[in-house]
């Protein structure tokens, strides 16, 4: 992707190097004797429970990494290691090049007050404070004067569409509204890094869809660096720039949604991708062939269009289509044969 090629030259915002989180007494001994990931039997023998097993990855500025896994896969633990709500057993984590694990509590507080925001599964709103006070909370904690905090919080209330309810208490709001407050609170200090721990899991399916759209809308204008945890594969596909699939603390595959659907790395990942309607996930670029002027047809299709949205017109077309890229002034970048689309739609 374009973003990748541009930003890979820059320093990553979040960088993890073989992060381990092991619960139990013999954790350190276990780590000393091993190199790379540790197998499940070894953990069982040592009487330890694995949270995160040798996780290494980078997240770049403006990128959204979705960590997907079933319950107990260690995805929330990984998130908490990176926000340092729990201390990893070993490994290195860098935030904007600074070593997170070597920060003292004062530096950590500074980092959280200015750079990080987090949204929680169960909303985690303070029950005794109103919507407005909840959103203003991080600002007041930071030491901003009350007036400034409240007016900033009021902006956030409008941003998440809760105007008119700012004096409600959390218990008076629906789940979706409560999570809007959670989102507004996490954004109030204008953080660079945004952590979301299963933010929509506690919501009804319809509300969840609505909140996802809302979330994408926000991200479109805010461009935060995001780490998003979910157990819902469809949600991951919908939102992610890249997806990390976790099982038993190990990251099984970390790739773009297209690549995961097309080339699942392990049997485990394959189980998720099997039932995914590909036409709803894949973009044209993932099934096109390289551009060759001789084969190009007169009809064009955009490179990042989702197949489903353009399938009908492609199938109507008798000849090959030219794939063009809007970001490069509609320069042709590939060729698409209509039969490929049929394969995606009905093939295996």
């Amino acid at each position: 992707m374009l973003n990748d090629s541009l930003s890979s030259n820059l320093e990553p915002v979040i960088k993890c190097e073989s992060v381990f989180k092991i619960f139990g007494n013999n954790a350190n001994k276990l780590l000393e004797n091993s190199n790379g990931p540790i197998s499940a039997e070894e953990f069982q023998k040592a009487g330890c429970i694995i949270g995160v097993n040798n996780a290494s990855f980078e997240i770049h500025k403006g990128e959204m990494l979705v960590v997907m896994g079933l319950s107990g896969s260690g995805k929330s633990t990984l998130l908490r290691c990176i926000s340092r709500l729990t201390d990893p057993t070993s490994g290195k984590i860098f935030i904007d090049g600074e070593n997170l694990l070597e920060m003292n509590s004062k530096q950590l507080i500074e980092l959280r007050r200015n750079k990080m925001g987090m949204v929680f599964q169960s909303f985690a709103l303070l029950p005794h404070k109103t919507v407005l006070e909840n959103i203003a909370f991080p600002l007041i904690i930071k030491g901003l004067p009350t007036d400034a905090s409240i007016s900033k919080a009021m902006e956030m209330v409008e941003l998440v569409g809760l105007k008119g309810r700012e004096n409600y208490f959390p218990r008076e709001l629906s789940g979706g509204q409560q999570q809007r407050v959670g989102i507004a609170r996490s954004l109030a200090v204008e953080p660079d890094i945004w952590f979301l721990d299963e933010p929509f899991s506690a919501l009804d399916p319809l509300i969840r869809k609505e909140m996802q759209d809302e979330f994408l809308r926000l991200q479109d204008s805010l461009h935060k660096t995001i780490m998003f945890v979910t157990h819902d594969f469809d949600e991951a596909l919908r939102l992610a720039d890249r997806i990390a699939i976790m099982k038993d603390g190990i990251i099984e595959q970390l790739d773009t949604p297209d690549n995961i659907v097309l080339n699942p790395a392990t049997e485990y990942v394959k189980k998720f991708t099997e039932d995914v309607p590909r036409e709803k996930v894949l973009k044209i670029e993932s099934i096109m062939t390289t551009y060759e002027p001789s084969m190009a047809g007169s009809n064009t299709v955009f490179k990042d269009a989702i197949i489903e949205t353009v399938a009908e017109s492609i199938l109507d077309s008798k000849e090959n289509l030219t794939v063009i890229d809007t970001e490069q002034q509609n320069k042709p970048v590939g060729i698409l044969e209509p039969s490929k689309v049929i394969k995606v739609l009905f093939g295996k």
Binding site: I109, A124, H128, F137, P138, K142, S186
Partner: protein
């Protein structure tokens, strides 16, 4: 046969009871047999306690202190200096608050000194007229919540003033206004400490248990020895009694906070202090507020008891009225205590729930209109008071201060009513009373006294073993052993008999009433608020109507204990039954159960663990009331504890016997709690 017993707990209990009966009937009554009574090996504990106190106060660590009056060094013990200075500081605060309420001129001269007030005669300020104080209370109520609280506060203070209880009420209030905040701060800090450190919590737990289950009377004498007699001693006794629930509720509330809320605080960048005061404590507010409510109630409940060691106020007057059997007067004063309790409770709750308005753009006058209103009305009231002094040239200025016992009173009417009841129902009441004493209580008491000590142990330790294994068995056994090795085993048996009877009746009535009320929403809510209402009464209030009906007998104490102890039994029954999931009711209905079957087969088994926790409370409540019953004369441990108040070396006996009562509670608590926890785990209720 043993296999069957091994597998069924019910049969284990039957088997245990069978052994108990065999031992009961076959162990001969022989004063020299250890099977009958254990030797009083521990009879020296009270003496040792006395010696310890004595040593601390008069011998240990003496330091010479210059005495300016005698122009010489005097040896004083460190401990005594410490306790006396605590006494003096406590007394200072109480008197200081009291001055503000009752003072006027006195307050000014207390602050500025006599010299100034004598020079400038305009400093000779009168105290606020009672009318102004009533308005002030109503305005505070209005500001905190609204018109409803204003009416409650206003009427409350109006009653107190008009019925001539102003002065003692303010004395009591000043005691409470010092003691309650101290309990709150102390309890909150200890609770937070216990929450932060597991070790501290483990250390606090037994201390809290003993402090909460020990009857108030038993630590009065030690306190008098340590701190002297007076308001401060009453305050300190109250602090010991009222702090534990605060600690407990603080720990409970903090533990209930979901980890995500704490994480959200951390991610907002809270440091430790901000996390504690902005996130943890406010989030646990519900439980902490219940703690505050408990503290206020306990403080007012202690007023009469504190009167035994010299605290002034309503409690003292109530005690005098009860002692001279002026039922009408006692009832009036009792109502004052209840009113102060209710008003303080509501005000503190409203204050904690007060919301802040960030967008109100108010002018100075709008923001302070209530204060301005108050000052204005105070001036008017004062003018009225001055004018009225011409109307009441001799005697009392009723629009300024209604002196003690010179206000309105309905006590003649109440007394007449009491007389009428006595004259009309005496025969029936007395017949009932005598029937109960001769046919139920008397034989029961004899049966308890005829119980060999070994069979008692078998019963308790066996129950412990069946319920909680060897651990519970040993805990319960050692708690009781401590009592059995003293000289007071027979007295303890009398206490036990009263407690068993009271708890039995309360439990049955509580479960029956609770079950009936739990059948519908409205009745449940009503009975729960009725329970709340009854719990705001300080415990001794219950004694007033029963003396009125049954005179000074065991029956009175018993009935007071039953009424008082039924409250938790009822409350827990309703709560337990209401928490049974409705889906289970539906499942039951679809299986075609009748209402009775549903109650017996679905509701009761599921609610029983919670109900048993209520019974646990019932035991503590009943024992408290039985000991308190010594106020009107019984012959159990309570009477000895009361007696120790007037004995020169009573500290040791009072304290030891208090510990005994506490141990009985703890033994029962261990059995019930172990059972309920296990049962809850089994049923998957948390």
């Amino acid at each position: 046969m043993f296999d069957v017993i091994k597998n069924s707990r019910q049969r284990q209990f039957i088997f245990l009871f069978f052994i108990f009966l065999i031992l009961y009937f076959f162990i001969p009554k022989n004063e020299n047999s250890y099977l009958w009574r254990l030797p009083p090996l521990l009879k020296n504990i009270p003496l040792m306690f006395n010696a310890l106190l004595d040593n601390l106060m008069f011998n240990w660590f003496t330091i010479p202190i210059w005495d300016p009056d005698w122009q010489m060094y005097e040896d004083k013990t460190l401990f005594r200096i410490v306790t006396r200075s605590i006494s003096n500081s406590v007394l200072f605060f109480i008197i200081f608050i009291r001055e503000i309420f009752l003072g006027g001129y006195q307050t000014v001269s207390a602050v500025l000194g006599d010299g100034l007030t004598k020079t400038f005669s305009w400093l000779y300020l009168p105290a606020l007229p009672w009318t102004a104080v009533v308005i002030g209370a109503a305005l505070i109520g209005y500001k905190l919540e609204g018109i409803r609280l204003a009416v409650i506060a206003g009427i409350g203070f109006f009653y107190v003033s008009v019925f001539g209880q102003w002065e003692p009420s303010m004395q009591t209030l000043s005691l409470v206004l010092f003691t309650a905040p101290v309990c709150f701060i102390l309890g909150l800090s200890l609770g937070i400490w216990g929450y932060l450190s597991k070790r501290v919590e483990a250390a606090l737990q037994p201390i809290l248990n003993v402090a909460q289950t020990m009857p108030h009377f038993s630590y009065l004498v030690p306190i008098v020895v340590l701190f002297g007699v007076g308001d401060h001693a009453g305050s300190i006794a109250t602090i010991i009694f009222a702090t534990p629930p605060m600690v407990r509720l603080t720990i409970l509330g903090l533990k209930k906070i979901s980890p995500e809320v704490i994480e959200s605080g951390l991610m907002s960048g809270c440091n430790k202090f901000q996390l504690l005061f902005r996130v943890l404590i406010p989030t646990a507010r519900r439980d902490i507020l219940i703690g505050v409510n408990q503290v206020i109630m306990q403080c007012l409940a202690m007023t009469t008891i504190a009167a035994f060691i010299g605290a002034k106020g309503l409690g003292f007057n109530l005690k005098v009225a009860l002692n001279s059997l002026k039922i009408g007067k006692a009832a009036e004063i009792g109502i004052c205590v209840v009113i102060i309790a209710v008003v303080l409770d509501k005000l503190s709750l409203a204050w904690a729930n007060k919301q802040k308005d960030y967008f109100a753009n108010l002018s100075f006058f709008q923001r302070n209109r209530l204060s301005i209103f108050f000052i204005f009305l105070t001036i008017i009231c004062s003018i009225v008071a001055v004018i009225s002094s011409y109307y009441f040239p001799k005697g009392f200025n009723y629009l300024y201060l209604i002196p003690f016992n010179k206000g309105l009173t309905v006590s003649p009417i109440l007394d007449a009513f009491v007389d009428w009841i006595w004259n009309t129902f005496f025969y029936y009441l007395n017949t009932f009373n005598i029937f109960l004493l001769t046919n139920v209580l008397g034989p029961m008491k004899q049966a308890y006294l005829n119980m060999p000590v070994v069979s008692t142990f078998v019963l308790f330790m066996g129950a412990g073993y069946i319920i909680g294994g060897i651990r519970s068995c040993l805990i319960v056994g050692s708690l009781i052993l401590f009592i059995a090795l003293s000289e007071y085993w027979d007295r303890t048996l009398i206490t036990l008999y009263m407690a068993t009877f009271a708890v039995g009746v309360s439990a049955i009535s509580g479960i029956v009433v609770g079950s009936l009320c739990a059948q519908n929403e409205f009745a449940s809510k009503s009975i729960l608020s009725l329970c709340d209402f009854f719990q705001t009464f300080p415990s001794f209030i219950y004694l007033i109507p029963v003396i009125l009906l049954f005179g000074i007998t065991d029956t009175s104490v018993m009935i007071a204990a039953i009424v008082y102890a039924s409250v938790p039994a009822t409350r827990y029954t309703v709560e337990g039954l209401r928490s049974v999931p409705p889906s289970l009711h539906d499942a039951g209905s679809m299986s075609g159960v009748s209402k009775m079957q549903r109650w017996r087969l679905i509701d009761l088994p599921l609610a029983l663990p919670h109900i048993m926790l209520g019974i646990n409370q019932t035991v503590i409540f009943a024992l408290m009331m039985i000991v308190l019953g010594a106020l009107i004369g019984t012959e159990d441990l309570g009477q000895l504890i009361m007696g120790s108040l007037s004995r020169p070396n009573g500290a040791g006996i009072g304290f030891t016997l208090g510990i005994f009562i506490s141990f009985i509670c703890l033994a029962v608590d261990n059995l019930i709690r172990t059972w309920a926890d296990e049962r809850k785990k089994l049923l998957g209720i948390n």
